[in-house]
């Protein structure tokens, strides 16, 4: 078996390449059914339906974004009401400054809701993905450079309870995966 990285360092996992998006999809279904939990498939673009094939749930980023949006709305409400109705009621054209002037604050409330939601969506996505990070053991494998071009890979981590060098290798071979490689942490 090929090795990537420094073999004296801890083992990260076993990686392999498949020829196409559909091969990756079907490989994912089999790895899922074999009971693995700490593994991932890598592709140059998101593959439609792969979440189902891998057995992962819908991203819960939307919940974070909802909280971000509510925060933005609250900040905007405070930011407009406190100065305009309490701290410094600015009377323009003799119009009232009470709570019922709220429609005039809708644009700012909307904008800040969107702003904080967008920040949460972007940075929440990065946080859930553990990004940014300097490096990752999988990058020790030279073939993996093609993941952003036309390569389709899968990797099963050594920390997976089902991981076993021989059995995992046999399973990957059974999937028709090529270039099966042990990838080390450093």
């Amino acid at each position: 078996m090929q090795r990537a990285g420094n073999p004296d360092s801890p083992l990260f996992g076993m990686a392999a390449e498949v020829p196409s998006a559909s091969a990756l999809y079907h490989a994912a279904e089999k790895v899922r059914d074999a009971g693995y939990t700490r593994w991932d498939v890598y592709s140059p673009f998101p593959i439609h339906g792969m979440d189902h094939a891998m057995g992962v749930k819908k991203s819960w980023l939307s919940a974070l974004v909802f909280i971000g949006g509510i925060t933005g709305l609250t900040i905007a409400a405070a930011l407009t009401f406190y100065p305009s109705s309490i701290e410094y009621p600015l009377i323009v054209a003799g119009k009232p400054t009470n709570f019922f002037t709220v429609p005039a604050f809708f644009p700012i409330m909307f904008e800040l809701t969107v702003l904080l939601s967008a920040f949460t969506a972007t940075f929440g996505m990065l946080a859930l993905n553990g990004l940014p990070r300097w490096n990752h053991p999988i990058f020790n494998w030279n073939r993996f450079d093609r993941v952003s071009d036309d390569g389709f890979f899968l990797a099963i981590e050594a920390t997976d309870p089902e991981f076993d060098e021989e059995a995992t290798r046999a399973m990957l071979e059974g999937l028709g995966a090529k270039h099966i490689t042990l990838v080390y942490e450093d």
Binding site: A21, Y25, P46, I47, M50, L61, Y88, E111
Partner: protein, 503 residues
Amino acid sequence: MADAIMQNREAAEQRITRAPLVTNNRSMAWITDHVASVTEKKAPVWWWVLFTISSALAVCSVLCIGYLISTGVGVWGLNHPVGWAWDITNFVFWIGIGHAGTLISAILFLTRQKWRTSINRAAEAMTLFAVVCAGIFPLIHVGRIWMVWFLAPVPNSNAIWQNFRSPLLWDVFAVSTYFTVSILFWYTGLVPDLATLRDRAKTKLRKFIYGIAALGWRGGNRQWRHYEMAYLILAGLSTPLVLSVHSVVSFDFATSVIPGWHTTIFPPYFVAGAIFGGFAMVLTIMLPARAIFGLHDLITDDHVDKMCKIIVLTGSIVGYAYAMEFFIAWYSGNPYERYVFVHNRLAAPFMSWFSWVPGIGPEMAALGANPAPYWWAYWSMIFCNVVAPQLFWSRYFRRHVIWVFIICNFVNAGMWFERFVIIVTSLHRDFLPSSWGMFYPTWVDIWTFTGTFGIFLALFLLFIRWLPMICIFEVKAVLPEADPHHGHDDHHREPVAVKGAAH
């Protein structure tokens, strides 16, 4: 018999199948290489020529802005009664251009228009650079720019808070939110492609810079699932945002009492105009880029065709809005409103040609004898925005890029005239004839505006050189072989080119 049926069926299927989004059956590696290599090869000579010209123009703008700040807004031609002139015209012009980028990236994403994938990156970049150009004008038109922090929501030096009920302050929030969200959306879309550039990098420096910029992206599905959700949410947020931004820009006018501005039609009218003008600008910069880099297989003639259709649709909405605001001016019975539309805009010398027409002849003769001072601006607008784009009803004009380019430039000019007409013709003669006046631009007005084209183009050229101008990963995702079920039902006669495009 069976053969004949099959042949008929094949012919019928061919007629209803969609054209492939990427032509000539290009492979994934071809797409990566073709798009990424633009940033890797040496810059061609024409790039340096264009970059030199556009940065020289940008410097003109910067010098004019320096002169304005050090001297005062008096160096511009605006004065009473025209207190907003080219500054706000240019602001609305540029921000409107930005909206097509967001439309392509967000609204077409939500409506699953897969053809957007090869144009959204450049269109989003265009959005950012247009908003940069737009942002300059409201900042410098305040005059004492060192006081611009008065716009920020903190009490000013006299402990006075802003008027949060003012559309001008809404505008500050809307435009700055729009710019920020556009950057986030754009960068989120860039991350997987920056990883492509990182993985292809040959030199240590490129590897380092693109490595940092790609944030460690590795394309695992456990990342893609959050990524796709983030992209979907950002698209969902950007869609109402883009509508709100130009609505708020139109509130700057609509909530005032100036005849010609005080209309409820403004928000949808402005939004349609923004998308209209923005698509024209997208084509104006994309057609030369496509020709130069030979990207005809990615930005196909079908893409151009579809954008032309959007232009004729939004152009007709704009034409309808022009007619409707005119109708409401008449129907409202408000003499000031009517005066602005008829005597500040419509009345033109050529109307006296129609003095023979029975019934309206005398009115035509009177209007022709007393034309509006800015009749040429109004009629340029009508010609460029309403008449010229109607040519796109014809497939001939949509399919010949020279015509597309010419008509789009009419639209670019027309949309600038539209904002000029709205702003200057409304202001120059309003309620009191004793306070009427004209606006004449100074050389500072002219060069500040001309220079923003330099800023826009220079930024766009830098973008082309350093970042992939087509969204590589999204284009791959619309290839037929990207479909995980591709190639498994080969025994059916499948129209191969269509599978990826169909959903």
